[in-house]
């Protein structure tokens, strides 16, 4: 009789599943009923299932904010066996349904006779954990609802061992494990940390096992900062694909973080994600929240002094590697610099993560990889670097007060990490005055050799200087041409035009001339053909000699 009823109910489910607000997926039926006709249909369905014993109320609750409402949470059963994860929730106002949401199995020919006993299942569950494991819940026979295919008849319990607690399901006929998930819920937390320049900032972290981990649970993507603990070999292995573990995540015991690289890398990656989201509506690297993984502390500052020259970049540089990391997940890397008593090129080099523009620069390389994928050499490569500098600078201006001091927004790149003692030049590049660092501010001065992949970093300052001129205006030193910029108050226009051009319009092999055309077109698209932005960008490219 029960079987007949179940078949009838399933048939009804199939019938009603054709209605609006439901989705039949194999033997699984999901429905969301919130409007009159739907509600009546699904209420009849739920009531029929309830009477047939296929749905049993397992919880009745009231939301204090809506005292007249009653919420019934019903568990699906099939021949007396609970269907794990199959539930219907009906919210009623004084007995009148207001909404019904459900996810149930419609399978009607399931065998609920297990092939092994519950005692055997218990032994199996324990055998899959470390010695000393215990079961925190009684072993229960369930039908495990799956995304595809029929529900599995399975035994389940919660297994605790060492510092892990898992709910585990084993097939009730074969004993094979079919599913496990952690019963420990991660807890988001906010910590504070002192960064490279001594400022205090907030960090979105995770509390697990009494330790705070640099794993941001509040922003949409995975955003995790891994501490290589001065083990360069380990860092190299990770870059080449070795797995990362929870124990690799940068950690702090009291959530008052003191590792300046961890603080700034973790916080500034989050800020950069925020900049892209708020300014451009972009969801991270690939606009689909690709994980944001960064490595820090591959080499200590002191350790940098004994590094072979080929590895010195792991101390004094930062990079994005699109194909690095476990599963080629893509990794950002930030060096720690050199001891304060030492200089290179007349500059102290502090941890590179301490510069917001450097962090945003590296993350932007990931954006470029996912979009225009500008070739990393010659003019496309210079455009690639330029776009990273442009977005790095834009991120600074988005979050930091404008000024020339430490921790302030300016048109220098890396000025918070590369500090010249005694009042020399800070940073590594300038968008205002590229020549100050020996970089070209006009196309006629471009580097044409093969070093630096065809001068990608050197020549990047030509388009970057055009970006600066389009905002702030001014006269190009070489051409003598004056640009009427949009003004600092309207910098958003130029940021958006460059973003649109570099992310959506440029082909991978674009040269400077293409970039000129694309940024002008982007400004026209956004603000009109005769807009101030379009005119400023046009003048700026002309001023730097790109036509």
């Amino acid at each position: 009789m029960k079987r007949v009823m179940a078949i009838a109910v399933a048939a009804m489910a199939l019938f009603v599943s054709l209605d609006v607000g439901s989705a039949q997926q194999g033997s699984r039926l999901r429905f969301n009923a919130t409007t009159g006709g739907d509600l009546r249909t699904w209420d009849q369905f739920v009531t029929a299932q309830e009477r047939a014993g296929a749905l049993r109320v397992r919880q009745v609750s009231q939301d204090p904010s809506l005292p007249s409402r009653t919420v019934e949470r019903m568990q699906q059963y099939y021949q007396g066996v609970p269907v794990w994860g199959a539930e219907v929730v009906r919210d009623s106002d004084r007995g009148v349904p207001v909404s019904i949401f459900g996810d149930v199995s419609t399978q009607s020919d399931l065998d609920t006779q297990p092939g092994i006993t519950a005692d055997a299942a218990e032994r199996l569950l324990l055998s899959r954990a470390a010695s000393g494991a215990t079961l925190l819940r009684p072993v229960t026979l369930v039908l495990l609802l799956r995304d595809a295919g029929s529900p599995n008849l399975a035994y389940t319990s919660v297994v605790a061992s060492a510092n892990q607690v898992f709910r585990v399901f084993v097939d009730a006929r074969t004993g094979v494990e079919v599913l496990r998930y952690s019963s420990i819920r991660k807890q988001a937390s906010i910590g504070t940390g002192r960064g490279v320049i001594g400022d205090t900032k907030k960090m979105a972290v995770r509390l697990q096992g009494g330790v705070y981990l640099a794993d941001d649970l509040l922003r949409p993507p995975v955003l995790t900062t891994f501490d290589m603990r001065n083990n360069l070999s380990r860092a190299l292995n990770v870059l080449f694909g070795a797995p990362l573990f929870v124990s690799d995540i940068a950690a702090d015991s009291d959530n008052s973080w003191t590792d300046v690289s961890a603080v700034d890398a973790h916080a500034y990656i989050g800020w950069t994600y925020d900049y892209y989201f708020k300014r451009h509506g972009r969801r991270g690297l690939d606009n689909r929240d690709r994980p944001l993984i960064s490595l820090i502390n591959a080499v200590s500052q002191q350790g940098a002094l004994s590094l072979p020259p080929d590895f010195f970049d792991f101390a004094v540089n930062a990079f994005w590697c699109d194909d690095c990391g476990p599963g080629a997940i893509g990794v950002m890397f930030f060096g720690n610099g050199i001891p304060p008593a030492f200089t290179q090129g007349g500059q102290n080099i502090n941890p590179l993560a301490g510069s917001l523009d450097i962090v945003a620069h590296e993350l932007t390389h990931g954006v470029t990889s996912a979009t225009s994928n500008l070739l990393p050499m010659n003019e496309p490569g210079a455009l690639n670097e330029s776009f990273s500098d442009v977005m790095g600078t834009a991120t600074e201006f988005f979050f930091q007060p404008v000024g020339a001091g430490i921790g302030q927004a300016d048109y220098l790149i890396g000025e918070d990490s590369f500090r010249a003692p005694g009042g020399g030049l800070n940073g590594i590049r300038s968008l205002v005055n590229p020549i100050a660092f020996g970089d070209p501010d006009h196309y006629s001065l471009r580097f044409t050799g093969s070093e630096d992949d065809g001068g990608v970093h050197t020549n990047s300052t030509i388009p970057s200087h055009a970006y600066y001129l389009a905002i702030e205006g001014g006269r190009n030193r070489v051409s003598g041409m004056t640009v009427q910029g949009v003004g600092a108050a309207n910098r958003e226009q130029i940021e958006k035009a460059f973003y649109r051009a570099f992310v959506f319009l440029l082909p991978a092999s674009a040269n400077f001339s293409t970039a000129r055309a694309a940024t002008i077109q982007a400004a026209r698209d956004l603000y009109g053909a005769s807009s101030t932005a379009a005119q400023a960008i046009t003048q700026a490219w002309t001023a730097v000699g790109v036509n």
Partner: protein
């Protein structure tokens, strides 16, 4: 407090003056018309009073969210309303009666919640969260009253009274609040208040006057103006708050005498 004391003094003085008038030696002139005698010993009244004033109060507390201090301001709108009032007294000497009164006041209170909730990612970028909470307020006041009865004629009786009051105040206090937020967390929306009911007691004063008209020997109607005041201390998010009870109330009801 000062105004309460002054009012009490004035009414006490009025009582004294009336007493003095009763005991003054008659002047050597024609005797004034005799005031009607008070033949009854027991006096009861019951009726409804309308509270004129409001007893609003505000609390501003520092809250800790996202490793930063924010602010929670709760404003309790305890407006006027109807109160039940009853009293009984016994004539102990000439025109002096001693009695006990009871005033029960109950009303809904709207509490406005204005909070500044720190941002999870950035310092000094609080989000404004506002909401309302409908709570309850009830006051029970027991008044010990000395009453001076002044019969105007056989039907009309004026009573002046005063004395200490014992207040019990129950008030729903907002302890905290919940809000919803989602990335990028630049805004937050009030979802509910977390409140608890507190009950505190205090001693205050009451003074007032009553005019009764008896349309039979024992039964009549009357009107009362009463001022009572007390202050209880309640625990609020910032620590404690002085919550005023009572106030100026006027109304009427039935009067009995035996």
């Amino acid at each position: 407090m000062k105004s309460r004391a002054v009012l009490f003094a004035i009414l006490t003085c009025a009582v004294c003056t009336a007493a003095e008038a009763q005991t003054r030696t008659p002047a050597p002139r024609p005797a004034p018309p005799r005031r009607p005698a008070i033949d009854e010993r027991l006096f009861f009244s019951a009726g409804v009073l309308f509270r004129v004033n409001s007893n609003d109060f505000t609390d501003t507390a520092t809250i800790r969210r996202n490793v930063e201090n924010g602010q929670l301001e709760t404003s309790y709108d305890v407006g006027g309303g109807l109160a039940f009032d009853a009293s009984g007294s016994y004539l102990v000497w000439r025109q002096l009666a001693l009695g006990v009164g009871l005033t029960v006041f109950s009303a809904s209170t709207t509490t406005t919640i204005d909070a500044q909730v720190p941002h999870p990612f950035f310092f000094n970028q609080p989000r404004a969260v506002t909401g309302e909470f409908d709570g309850d307020r009830s006051e029970t006041a027991v008044h010990i009253q000395a009453k001076w009865l002044v019969p105007v004629n056989t039907n009309m009786l004026v009573t002046i009274f005063g004395g200490p009051s014992f207040f019990k105040v129950e008030q729903d206090i907002v302890d905290d609040f919940d809000y919803s937020e989602s990335y990028p967390f630049d805004t937050a929306t009030f979802t509910r208040a977390i409140a608890s009911s507190q009950s505190e007691s205090a001693v205050g004063v009451n003074v007032g006057g009553d005019v009764a008209y008896y349309f039979s020997r024992n039964v009549g109607v009357g009107g009362t103006v009463q001022y009572s005041s007390g202050t209880v201390e309640m625990t609020v998010p910032s620590g404690t708050a002085d919550v005023k009870a009572g106030g100026l109330q006027a109304g009427g009801g039935i009067r009995l005498r035996f």
